[in-house]
């Protein structure tokens, strides 16, 4: 395949996905209301992810704190373990890791479910029944992902800091008062909001990508597997790439508004 054809193919794919995204978003406010579907998907994306998020965030908090403690011990700055971990978790680790985990778990399931519906003609059945498939199948998934991701990230942040507290205060005997005081002095609401905002954007992207892949599945069981694989891999790569650009944009915003970065 020549580079030109490859590039054309990729550009067309992106165009299709953008249209899919726009039409899905546009269909959300249309009647009938899909609140039931939104809650159903929130239960799947949100509630059912809480366990795995708690587990991974606890150990992320422990491991990260331990590494930072070891580094800061050399320069005798162990009092800064708490705020450093808090900044890293709320602004970067929390949104990125939460999104990667949920994209793999719920995004993969979304692509597989929609792909199976496509190859089993269930989406065609909805179409011929006069149901707007984007409004019924895709819109609620996007809304649910965008709403759930900040909530899951908040849980990640909190549990990771519990892990950090446990390591710093209970395992390496840092002073509990200083630990909390330093965090309170450093962390501002905007640091937490920054992470929550990022996670909502990541949620939007993985929901659109995985839904698009699943919705446009062709070729039976093999196609479902490929759609799931492509959906999850593309989402994960994009979350990491997008994180850099979002971080840069937020820094620019802070500079423009005169806030410390």
């Amino acid at each position: 395949m020549s580079v030109k054809i490859w590039a054309e193919d990729k550009i067309k794919g992106m165009g299709d996905m953008t249209l899919f995204f726009w039409r899905s978003i546009k269909s959300i406010p249309n009647p009938p209301s899909r609140l039931d579907e939104i809650f159903k998907h929130m239960e799947f994306i949100g509630n059912q992810s809480v366990g795995i998020i708690c587990l991974t965030s606890l150990f992320t908090g422990l491991a990260l704190s331990f590494q930072i403690y070891l580094g800061f011990k050399i320069v005798n700055l162990t009092n800064l373990v708490g705020p450093t971990v808090a900044l890293g978790v709320t602004r970067e680790m929390g949104p990125v890791l939460t999104s990667l985990i949920v994209a793999a778990r719920a995004g993969g399931a979304m692509a597989a479910r929609l792909g199976t519906m496509r190859v089993n003609e269930q989406i065609d059945a909805l179409d011929v029944m006069g149901v707007d498939t984007l409004q019924y199948l895709i819109g609620p998934r996007i809304v649910a992902a965008v709403l759930c991701m900040p909530l899951l990230t908040a849980i990640f942040d909190f549990v990771a800091m519990v892990g950090c507290w446990f390591l710093a205060v209970k395992m390496v005997d840092l002073d509990q008062g200083i630990f909390f005081q330093r965090i309170a002095e450093t962390i501002q609401f905007r640091h937490i909001a920054e992470g929550l905002f990022k996670s909502a954007v990541f949620g939007l992207f993985f929901a659109v990508i995985c839904s698009y892949r699943g919705f446009n599945t062709t070729g039976g069981a093999k196609g479902v597997g490929e759609a799931t694989n492509k959906g999850v891999v593309t989402s994960m790569v994009l979350i990491i790439v997008l994180d850099y650009f979002l971080t840069s944009l937020i820094r620019i915003y802070y500079l423009v508004t005169g806030q410390p970065t």
Binding site: P32, N120, E121, Q122, D124, A125, D127, V128, M129, G130, V131, D132
Partner: protein, 272 residues
């Protein structure tokens, strides 16, 4: 095909329905379709489906039957040509209007296409909950149960998931769901492909019963099962190379002098 077989087949066709009305439910004029701009899948389909008739669409694999069906359902738009359904030009219809218009169709898919996370009853209720929002919950349940009774599905299966019932029951459920909104046009997409002979006969009889007992219903069946098509259909359209090769009654097919039709009929009846 020998004379005896022809006579026997003609005898069978006398079972056909007698409810055909004046006028056409579907009119396709010179419908052409290409996906890549080069090769045409439909090369000028001309077909009129009479109101109240049961029409079978037959043909070898890859002749454009499914593509034609998707044009009737408005899932594909033709590259050129006209499609009028129930007096409406579906080619020029906006997406939202088309979505509403599709409520006048019922479709039984080859795989039944039941929603696997819903029970049998919920599957049949689904189109009613979607499009009859003014109906009470009890009324929707009552209608759904009526449809399930009509297709002969026993009450003990209503709360089962599609994966917990047999293929025949899935077809019955699919048909009940297709009938839920009292459609004016009912489409069967290869309803008996992959079924055993007993189940095939059951589905054929179900199609015939459904067609006969519903006033004003126009039925279209895409099928590979020639014997069934000739037994139950009022009219048959044979597609070849993206065009309608022959459209007529089953008798017209038996008497046709077109070589391809003779070959198809002869082979089809032998296999059946």
């Amino acid at each position: 095909m020998d004379d005896k077989s022809i006579d026997s087949s003609l005898e069978k066709t006398s079972n056909r329905s007698n409810k055909i009305e004046a006028g056409n439910a579907i009119e396709m004029k010179n419908v052409q379709k290409t996906f890549d701009g080069k090769e045409f899948v439909l090369k000028g389909i001309d077909l009129n489906v009479r109101k109240g008739s049961l029409t079978a669409i037959i043909g070898f694999s890859g002749t454009g039957k499914s593509v034609m069906l998707k044009h009737i359902l408005g899932l594909f738009r033709p590259t050129s040509g006209e499609i009028n359904i129930l007096g409406k030009d579906v080619v020029k219809m906006e997406k939202d209007d088309l979505t509403k218009f599709r409520q006048r169709f019922g479709v039984l898919f080859q795989s039944a296409a039941l929603f696997d996370d819903m029970t049998v009853l919920e599957n049949v209720c689904f189109p009613l909950f979607e499009h009859r929002r003014d109906y009470s919950h009890d009324k929707v349940l009552k209608i759904a149960e009526e449809k399930l009774v009509q297709v002969g599905l026993e009450k003990k299966h209503y709360q089962k998931l599609p994966s917990q019932i047999s293929g025949g029951m899935q077809k019955r459920t699919g048909l009940a769901r297709a009938l839920a909104l009292d459609p004016e046009i009912l489409i069967y997409d290869e309803p008996t492909t992959g079924l055993d002979p007993i189940l095939t006969e059951m589905v054929d009889n179900l199609i015939l019963d459904t067609h006969r007992h519903r006033e004003g219903l126009t039925s279209i069946m895409v099928s590979h099962d020639l014997a069934a098509a000739f037994r139950i259909a009022d009219f048959v359209a044979m597609l070849d190379g993206g065009k309608v090769l022959l459209y007529g009654t089953p008798e017209d097919f038996y008497r046709s002098e077109i070589e391809l039709v003779k070959r198809f009929v002869s082979k089809g009846m032998k296999t059946s």
